[in-house]
Structures are given as C-alpha cells and as structure tokens.
C-alpha cells in the first residue's frame, strides 16, 4: 500500500520499523532480506529501523537514542501512519510531536493485540488519532464495539496486485504443478496461511483427511510460516489427523514459507480458509480467487462478504469443509 501511495507522486512516504530483524520458523529474518522491504526500496521509499533485535522484548521502553531517531523522522512528517496498533506506543511519546495519526487496522479481535487496544483508545481520547482505516467491515464493527469512536473508523477493503495475482495459462499451471510434485490433472486445494491458532489448522487437516480419502485424484497443499513438518506442533497435528490413514500423506504437501505465493496459488482449484476467529479481510482468499481458484471459507471476519457470488461459505466442521472443497473442484457431479 505504501509503495502505491509513494508511487502515485502526490505523497512522499518513509518507513520506520521498530525491529531490524524478526524470528520466523526458528530462523532470524533480517529486515533487509524481507521481500516487502525490498519492494519498498525498489519503489524509492526510504526505510530505517530503531535497530531492535529479534529477542528484544516488545514492551521494553524506548531509550533516548531510539526516541531521537524517531523524532528526526517525525519532525518532517505531516501525517503518521501506523501499521496496526503496536507502534502507537512509540507515536504517543513526545518524540512524535503532534502530527495527526492514522492507524491501519487489520484484525477483527482488538482484545487480542496486547496493550494495542488501550494505546488506540488513548490516542482517540487524546485527539491524536485522526482516523483508523479498517481493511474490513468486521474490523470496523469490532473496534467500534471496543470503544473506538465510529466517526474515526473508515473501511478501505483489501485489494491485491491484479498483475501478480492472475490465472496462469495452462502450460505454466502444468509446470508449476509438476514442480510441486502434483499431477497435472489433479484437483488441488491450497491453504496459504501461517501456523496460528486462529487459522484452526486441526480443522484444515481433518477436512484434508476427509477430502483425500473421498477423492483419490485430490491433493491438498499448505504454505506459510510454520506450515512444514519442521514445526513440531504441525507434525503432531498431522499425526493426529492422519494416524489411521498414513497412506494419504503422499497427497498432502506442506511447503512452509514461500516467497512465490502467486505461483503456489496458481496451481489451486480451490483456495481454503478454515479460521475460527481474528480474521478481517483475509488476503489469501482474495489472492487465490484472483488466481482463478474458488474460495471456500468459514464465516469469520469479512470472509462471507468476500466470497459472496464467487465462492462458498462452509460450517466449521471437517465434513462440511471437505464438501465445500469438492463443490469447488473440477469434475464435481451435478
């Protein structure tokens, strides 16, 4: 979004990150190696950080050097945007002066953001918060219910780069499937999500167990942080779901973190979401749909609104989820 605003020519943006590195799947990931950092730099957006390491406690007070660095950036800014609520703790310090703040909100469970909700409410009551942009109607409703004044809440529904996320041609789709170890004529369900309680991975795996047992031409794919058997939690979940049918695991593909998500989604006939809470406007559904996959989602956040007319909403039950995947797959009977 920032690259788009900056490239538009009427606004000039700079980015300040609190951490210079984070931990993902037991690996330290440097900011400069992150594809989003690289996209910002390619667009000409200066990016700096306060220099915090991956093991720096999130609630550590900001020190004098960090505040001075923030103050230098803030001094020449007309508007401060914060990605979610967490940076509001920094923005509320004297270092940031009195520039108006726009918070960008991306979840529908404000109570699960630590002290973020308290910081947001404080920013609203102090008059510092000029607007809060919600990526979903569910986000707006949840934050309004949590006490954020409704006149501050604006919905800007999520969108994706339609050039990156588009259906692949038959040849490219076949090549991508072969590279993933999937037959060209298989029916393929993809979940693109990190391993997280809100994603209800056990439900996803239970549905995969039903789907793969019922359709011997089906394959199920998952990619995202923690979505590999190197994650002991996922390995346990898989063992529980497929303990009686280990033969089905040949058609379950757990790819872990992928930086070529459009290529993974391009092999999908169905893009799945089995989340139980916390979602706002899940990008994976939109990205998958724009790649030509039928979105099949549980009713969480704005999922039902997103898939209306283009996909299916299913109950949070393995049989119901698997039935939805079958309906969205090629070769279903009428």
């Amino acid at each position: 979004m920032v690259t788009g605003l900056h490239a538009g020519g009427t606004q000039s943006h700079r980015v300040l990150a609190i951490h210079r590195e984070v931990q993902r799947e037991s690996l330290r990931q440097r900011m400069v190696d992150d594809p989003r950092y690289q996209a910002l730099r390619r667009a000409g957006v200066p990016v700096s950080s306060l220099g915090r390491g991956w093991d720096d406690p999130a609630n550590r007070p900001f020190d004098t050097a960090e505040l001075a660095r923030a103050a230098r950036l803030a001094a020449t800014s007309d508007v401060i945007l914060t990605l979610k609520e967490q940076p509001l703790r920094l923005v509320a310090t004297d270092a940031f002066g009195d520039a108006p703040v726009v918070a960008c909100l991306h979840r529908s469970d404000p109570e699960h953001s630590g002290r973020g909700l308290a910081d947001l409410l404080e920013a609203a009551s102090s008059g510092r918060l000029a607007a809060a942009v919600c990526c979903a109607y569910a986000t707006r409703d949840a934050y309004a219910a949590a006490g954020v004044p409704e006149h501050l809440l604006t919905v800007v529904p999520n969108g994706v780069d339609l050039l990156r996320f588009r259906p692949a041609g038959r040849g490219r789709r076949a090549t991508l499937r072969v590279r993933t170890g999937i037959p060209v004529d298989a029916s393929v369900v993809v979940l693109a999500a990190r391993y997280d309680t809100m994603k209800d991975v056990p439900l996803f795996l239970a549905a995969a167990r039903v789907h793969l047992a019922a359709d011997d031409g089906a394959h199920v794919v998952a990619c995202g942080a923690g979505m590999s058997l190197a994650n002991p939690g996922l390995a346990d979940d898989v063992a529980r779901a497929f303990g009686d049918r280990p033969d089905l695991l040949d058609r379950l593909h757990l790819l872990g973190v992928r930086h070529d998500v459009p290529s993974v989604l391009a092999i999908a006939d169905v893009v799945a979401l089995t989340s139980s809470f916390g979602e706002a406007a899940p990008l994976c559904l939109i990205e998958g749909a724009m790649c030509g996959a039928v979105p099949v989602a549980t009713d969480v956040g704005d999922s039902a609104r997103i898939v209306e007319g283009i996909g299916l909403v299913v109950a949070r039950d393995p049989e119901a989820v698997a039935a939805g995947w079958a309906e969205g797959s090629p070769g279903a009977t009428s």
Partner: protein, 54 residues
C-alpha cells in the same frame, strides 16, 4: 472425483467479473484519500486554503 455438486462452472465467470472489486489500485486510491483528508484537516486553515486553491 465427482462427489460434490457442480458449482465451479457457475462460479468461475463470476470470479472473472469480480477482479476490479479486489483491485489494489482501488485500495491505494481510497487510502490516499484518507491521508489527504487528514493532512488537510491538520494543516493551519490559511495554508490549507491557499494550497487548495493553487
């Protein structure tokens, strides 16, 4: 294969028609509008007025 009710054929044309609804360009334009509105509201009135008219 073939245990579900055929829905894919009816959904695929709708998917193709829905692309503009999910455009990042639309999202960026809306965001830009919010930022501009906040920037103008936060500026001193005289400056905002003179710049707007430029």
């Amino acid at each position: 294969m073939g245990r579900g009710v055929a829905r894919r054929d009816e959904l695929t044309p709708a998917l193709q028609r829905s692309r503009s609804r999910f455009s990042r360009t639309r999202m960026v334009a809306s965001y830009a509008g919010v930022v501009e509105r906040v920037a103008w509201a936060g500026a001193p009135a005289a400056v905002a007025g003179s710049t707007r008219s430029a």
